[in-house]
Amino acid sequence: QRQFQGDQVLRIMARDEEQAALLKMLEEQEELQVDFWRHPFGPGHPADLRVPFPSLGAVKGFLESHSFPYTVMIEDVQELLDEEKEAMARSRR
């Protein structure tokens, strides 16, 4: 089963159209393997990105260099998945 250890989900708020367009560029950089959970609709709407652990440094560096305001929505995706699996097992028991 695919593991997501250390992957984070970042919630990013683009300030203007220019920043929204910059975010879309992240999607085109295939090597980063960024998974858009919520696409950048435009200024004022949050975009949520799951960033694989190996790409975290590059993506956060990109966001900081362009002064994007962002928060870490999920610290470790795998932790949530483990909790979800445990909850399902409990329900079955």
């Binding site: 695919r2 919630r11 609709f41 435009g42 909850a87 399902m88 329900s91």
Partner: protein, 310 residues
């Protein structure tokens, strides 16, 4: 020991087998109201099953509801299960549900993308697409909400098979999509299509492929406003509403645009709850609150459809 639909834990996530098995018990528990029909098979050969809620008649006007066309949006399928049970239990108790089912049929496809759903349980929890192969690419799957013949291949979809919004080689290339298309066309009297997704807290309607307002924009907007207001009255959850193109972005090839262009006037898509902390990984403790608050919004739409025949 006879199984009972009442023994099912609606506050937990379940596998495909568990949900399909529960559907059988729901049919057994409500033999005069609920039946199960198969509308096709998925790419990997799984049954595409639909619950039919009907009190009789033939080719009555109908409402179509699907959940989980994007397999990783688990709260959608879980809400579908709860909603199916709610419809069955409220017939004969709730005057609105009773009036609805005395005059119309409801079709509910809880697992609209079974291959993807099984894959989220077995291999990759975050899989979104179907599981069909793409010629010339190592990447599998098509986004089934970009595969409909409504502005197919336009903005907001991708021609790259490795993209999560890959529109597929041609409209309705996915068996899961084609089965719904054939069913709705074959039925001929579907008056509403409601497609349930997660997780942006929105109630959206056509168009997605163009920013031009639909001819029914005003009526849809008013209905959406009432529905999100009644939803918010349960736990205070705030939804936005509007046309897909105005509210999010231009998205071509979506379910509700296709349905609307087929003459199904009341075509809506719901994006269920977002805590701001979990995204697609909404904890199971939130299944019941999510489904409970969604119910009045769904009922608003269904009752409006009943009261506004066309």
């Amino acid at each position: 020991v006879k199984r009972s639909s009442r023994a099912f834990d609606f506050g937990s996530y379940h596998t495909l087998d568990e949900i399909y098995s529960w559907m059988d018990t729901l049919v057994e528990d409500h033999p005069g109201l609920v039946s199960k029909i198969q509308i096709g098979q998925s790419y990997e050969g799984r049954d595409l099953l639909v619950l039919k809620f009907s009190t009789g008649g033939s080719a009555r006007p109908a409402i179509w509801v699907d959940t989980g066309i994007h397999s990783r949006e688990w709260i959608s399928q879980a809400t579908g299960v709860w909603t199916a049970n709610k419809i069955a239990e409220e017939y004969g108790r709730d005057p609105s549900v009773t009036a609805l089912l005395d005059n119309m049929d409801v079709f509910l496809e809880i697992i609209a993308n079974p291959d993807g759903f099984v894959f989220t349980h077995s291999s990759d929890r975050l899989w979104r697409k179907t599981r069909s192969p793409n010629t010339g690419s190592h990447c599998l799957g098509v986004d089934p909400n970009r595969n409909w013949d409504a502005g197919f291949g336009g903005a907001g979809s991708s021609g790259d098979p490795c993209s999560d919004i890959y529109h597929g080689p041609f409209p309705h290339s996915e068996r899961e999509v084609k089965a719904i298309v054939d069913f709705i066309r074959g039925h001929g009297n579907v008056k509403s299509v409601i497609s349930i997704h997660s997780y942006s807290q929105m109630l959206l309607f056509p168009y997605g492929y163009t920013s031009v307002p639909s001819p029914d924009y005003q009526e849809m907007n008013e209905l959406a406003k009432k529905a999100v207001s009644d939803l918010a009255a349960v736990y205070g959850t705030k939804y936005t509403f509007g046309s897909i193109a105005d509210t999010i972005y231009t998205a071509a090839g979506t379910t509700v645009d296709w349905a609307y262009d087929q003459g199904v006037k009341y075509s809506f898509t719901l994006e269920l709850r977002d805590t701001g902390r979990h995204g697609f990984l909404l904890p199971s403790s939130q299944i019941l609150p999510t489904a409970t608050e969604t119910w009045p919004a769904l009922l608003d739409i269904m009752v409006h459809v009943l009261e506004h025949p066309y």
